[in-house]
Structures are given as structure tokens and as C-alpha cells.
């Protein structure tokens, strides 16, 4: 089955800094989603991005499907960006397989 690996496992940033989170997946996928898990444990959907590039405010994501990786960029980080970022991948209609996540701490 699909395997998903994320790096780095932990990241500490000063407020205002930029960061890049990486997600590698083992097979071709029809679905790739990035989530932010907030302090209350909720999974906030950031992007659906099985290929290409998308931007939403200070966040953007790029997936290179042929090379089986996705990147999440956070620019001008804020303390509210802190939390765990998960990448999840899957095939059409099927389960999502989650990576282990990247714990991001943004310090003021």
C-alpha cells in the first residue's frame, strides 16, 4: 500500500521566518491533502493538491506527482501557525494514508 513520509519531524521558527515542509509518497495517487492540526485536535484542510501548485494567503503547496513528493511553504510565519502539519495521500475513493506529521513551533 501507499507509504507517506514527512520531513522534518520537528521545526522551530522565529515569527516572520519562512519554512518548507516535505511529503514523499510511494505510489501514484489521485488524492493528496495537507492538514493543519490545531491545539484542539481538529484537522483543518489546507490543500487538496495531487499535482501542480496552489496558493492560499501565506501558504502555498506544490506537488510533483512524477517524482512523488509534495511541498508545503509557509511564509512570514505567525505564532498561530504552530501545530502539527499532516500530509495524506490516497487513490480514488479510497482511504487516506497519513504521514507522521511535522510539529511546527513558531516563537514570538
Amino acid at each position: 500500500g501507499i507509504q507517506v513520509e514527512q520531513s522534518p519531524p520537528d521545526l522551530i521558527l522565529q515569527e516572520g521566518a519562512n519554512s518548507t515542509l516535505r511529503c514523499n509518497f510511494s505510489d501514484s495517487v489521485n488524492n493528496l491533502q495537507w492538514f493543519h492540526q490545531n491545539p484542539w485536535g481538529q484537522l483543518i484542510n489546507l490543500f487538496y493538491i495531487p499535482s501542480g501548485t496552489k496558493q492560499n494567503g501565506r501558504l502555498s503547496a506544490t506537488t510533483v506527482a512524477t517524482e512523488r513528493y509534495s511541498l508545503l511553504y509557509i511564509s512570514s510565519s505567525q505564532t498561530t501557525d504552530s501545530g502539527v502539519y499532516f500530509c495524506a495521500a490516497g487513490e480514488y475513493g479510497n482511504k487516506l494514508v497519513f504521514g507522521a506529521g511535522t510539529i511546527l513551533r513558531v516563537k514570538s
Partner: protein, 115 residues
């Protein structure tokens, strides 16, 4: 914007008791999922449900677990006899049929604590 809802938000139960976690998927969605996340670990797939039957289940989803769509709006996960290791956050998700994008929408979760 439509969203997936889950009740209760928190539940505390005694080991061996039955619990039912409830989910209301987005109204025109036809694929339903349950995932769980043990504290500090990654999110794991439990079961998917489509066309009124289970389409896939994980090794975690043993005979103690069952799912049901009792009416046109609710989707439930039942744990028949809870164990300590069932303590986790349980997420429900739904997806439209033949949708582009292929996004799964997640509910806010039910935090289950088994004592």
C-alpha cells in the same frame, strides 16, 4: 460552507462499555470514513463505507467495531466493548461521489477516553 459534524465532542467511558460515536456527513456526499488518532501518533484509517456497505477496513477494525448509516443523514461508529487502548480521537470524513477535487472533508473529532 457545508461541514461534517460529530457528536459528542468528548466522551469518557468505563472499560467494557459500549460507545456510539455519531457523525453527520455533508449532505450530498456518498463516501464515508472513520479514522482515529491515538495521542501523539499519526492518524490511522479504520473503515470506509460506500453504497450502504463497508468498502475497506483496516486491521484495527476488528469484531468490536461496527458502522451503520441508520438514516439518510447519520453515520455511526460503535465500539461494542471498549478497551483502554481504544482511547483516541476519532475522526469522521466524507467525500462526494465522482467529485473533482477528490477532497475528503473531516469532522472536528470525538475525543474518547476509556478508563
Amino acid at each position: 460552507e457545508p461541514e461534517v459534524t460529530q457528536t459528542p465532542s468528548h466522551q469518557v467511558t468505563q472499560m467494557g462499555q459500549e460507545v456510539i460515536l455519531r457523525c453527520v456527513p455533508i449532505s450530498n456526499h456518498l463516501y464515508f470514513y472513520w479514522y482515529r488518532q491515538i495521542l501523539g501518533q499519526k492518524v490511522e484509517f479504520l473503515v470506509s463505507f460506500y453504497n450502504n456497505e463497508i468498502s475497506e477496513k483496516s486491521e484495527i477494525f476488528d469484531d468490536q467495531f461496527s458502522v451503520e448509516r441508520p438514516d439518510g443523514s447519520n453515520f455511526t461508529l460503535k465500539i461494542r466493548s471498549t478497551k483502554l487502548e481504544d482511547s483516541a480521537m476519532y475522526f469522521c470524513a466524507s467525500k462526494a461521489e465522482y467529485s473533482i477535487p477528490e477532497t475528503q472533508y473531516f469532522g472536528p473529532g470525538t475525543r474518547l477516553l476509556v478508563l
